[in-house]
Subunit: 241 residues, 4 copies
């Protein structure tokens, strides 16, 4: 029974870091839709951004318009989409075995906001959960996911079990996820491992987000920047030898 | 007030993946002790293993004695130390910018046990939390931590915010953490960033482990291998286009 | 005696992948200048591009103006700077332990040109050498260099010994390379390891580029895409068992 | 015509870093054999070591018997196999998306010998070339190769173009390279991309090794540790601003 879970107060944000501008088809989006739909059907309010469609400046400051850039849509995205989201899922393609430049830009801008603290004096990203979806013709889901999930936990997100999902084909050039194949089938969409991970990820993100919300976030002790800076040590003791 | 947190029912396991056998001094251990002591002072039962002191076989099976190895201490370590632990912290040095071979061996053996399921049909590592401590003369905390934390979440551990801590010196050869320097001080031990992360990590691991324990682990829906294998789909729908 | 080396027919291109637009100071540039100057003093013609100053489109096609982008300076950069260069050095900062988004964009665009072949039917990047320079406040030279050098060798560049150089400070926030410190010195500029690597890299790049040029590039046998595609196997035999 | 290439004075060493002891079948070996055979047929003397069959100690010293280990076969392997080899190919499996523990142990021991200098005062690994072969059920060739090739160039090896080859299957558990499939075929052995890379790698390693040998290694100027340590600067100048 899924009915016993009440996820209606949760909000999720999926950021698609494809290099392709709308309305080009993004393979990554096709896979991300599976997780998005599972969440929507559970009552989660789900937002989606395709980052390349937005005029997001390069840099590591919250608002790059104050640092020589004429325009920068990030501050608005951060305020209206990132901050309200209990769940953040970064989605992107693999190029030469690594995350896309757009993925790196989004992570740089999330990092730019990392000085913000919540009312408890914790990093403002605390109390949220993060995951990722990665697709490519071949090779690199884990390499890309490693970097994305590491970045999210570094910022303050909780990473639930098996918070990454993805699809790649056999070594070498080949179809992208969802591409029609000669035999009439579509690449990847029957891959049991991919389907299972995409599903498990969606549920684990919802479960952990809900648990954190119900428990008032991560308890505020031992992890407050301001208190540390003002001298509180939370039991820390320097090594004697 | 830390008094309001009751962590006495928690168990933690620190596995030190140094290449140095006892009784040689391990720099990594000096840093790990800080987190271990914080946990002990909160009532957590803390175990420590220096993996290189044990006769752990290479391989990806639960018991390598059934696969051509004469001896293998891993099954006992897994049963008596890993399974009872709510908190697992993998600790290790950096060599040539990457995790030690002992760290990789420990991760391979944790992976070897990943087919085990709990009573709910989830992976048996579910409901636990993981972190890591990395030290080196120079360069590589994040690279090593990325891999360790990724591996842990893949197995089923929850990764709390800022679950990695470490120390490295400036680029180039230099002292290890805790080494006595010419000026009488000791390398790294006054590094505010390292001390803060080591403390925050300890607390975030305890908070999340406690929260998971109090809530009965990750709710068992949408993440059960056996149910998936028997056809349950938890709302998963194949992409139409 | 350096006099015996005649590097006057060599061309080098340094691409600085800082996130900062001109005329902001780039720490990475300060370090890159050392290698550039060594090369210039040996008669190498050295070009420099700060990628963020150019309107380079996102994507993995040679000219993104044919794929929905209004403008794209890459095709001109590729034709006038990348193709003539015997030596390519990708330079960039570290953010959250990884390469910058601009670095990834430049690598994506280099990759976009990888279908081009030379007169021998080899990939057009063959016969050239590549290196990298990475700077950050802390942690990540090797992680970033690993990815950059891998990408370059994958495209066809030869990687000479010790083809990466960089500077980072001790763990935690801190000054960037070249920043003035309270004691009047400047961060990193007296780091012997950094200075040596930056020097060795410059020389190894020149030596290998010259050797390749004098020997007519990589001999064209066993590595020609077109011949492989037309059935030539160069001694390859399928495994029997 | 391959006849014009005289590779008879070249020696190659392949180190297989599988976790499986002989006589268990190693998938990685099946793929490595292709490159080994191409080299042998060109007159290269090719050695092979399966590292897990040897009693190689953990550590970062040349001979661990002087550091508390009862036995250590590495010093003999280094002297008789690594030092004579113009070409070194590290081969290994992927576990949880990363290199095997045996691969890391071999790299640690190669690193342990990195203080050795040649007659010119360069690092003793100079003048040699390196490559790698990686196989797995799924995902990780580039991630593993990135680390292996980086380590080799850091030690002093030259990395020729496209010096990595490998095979992985589609995302998810599946057969290993060479495994017999239900339809009678064998996993991976008809993969054109894998076969081509394995062939190109073999040839590029031979070409570069031969070129280096014919040219007397990397010219000894600008890259000699002892000269740098005694004050020679090879044109290096500290940044003025």
């Amino acid at each position: 029974m899924a009915e016993k879970y009440d996820f209606e107060d949760l909000r999720a944000l999926f950021i698609n870091c494809t290099l392709k501008k709308s309305p080009e088809t993004s393979s990554t989006q096709i896979l991300a839709n599976i997780s998005m739909n599972i969440m929507k059907n559970q009552g989660v309010k789900v937002d989606l951004i395709r980052a390349v469609d937005h005029d997001i400046a390069f840099g590591v400051q919250p608002d790059m318009r104050q640092h020589g850039w004429e325009s920068d849509e990030w501050p608005e995205i951060f305020e209206n989409k990132v901050k309200p989201a209990d769940i953040l899922v970064l989605c992107g393609p693999i190029w030469l075995g690594d995350n896309s430049s757009i993925m790196k830009k989004v992570i740089e801008r999330l990092y730019a906001n990392s000085a913000v603290l919540n009312n408890e004096g914790q990093y403002a990203y605390y109390g949220r959960v993060g995951g990722c979806i990665i697709t490519g013709n071949e090779d690199g889901i884990k390499h890309c996911a490693m970097n994305v999930l590491y970045s999210l936990q570094h910022l303050g997100y909780v990473i639930p079990p098996q918070a990454d999902a993805g699809w790649i084909g056999e070594a070498g050039p080949g179809p992208s996820y969802g591409d029609k194949l000669d035999n009439g089938s579509r690449a990847g969409i029957d891959n049991d491992f991919t389907n299972r991970n995409t599903t498990f990820m969606a549920w684990n993100l919802m479960h952990m987000a809900k648990m954190l919300k119900s428990n008032g976030g991560i308890p505020a002790h031992g992890n407050q920047l301001e208190k540390w800076q003002s001298g509180e040590r939370f039991g820390f003791e320097k090594p004697h030898r």
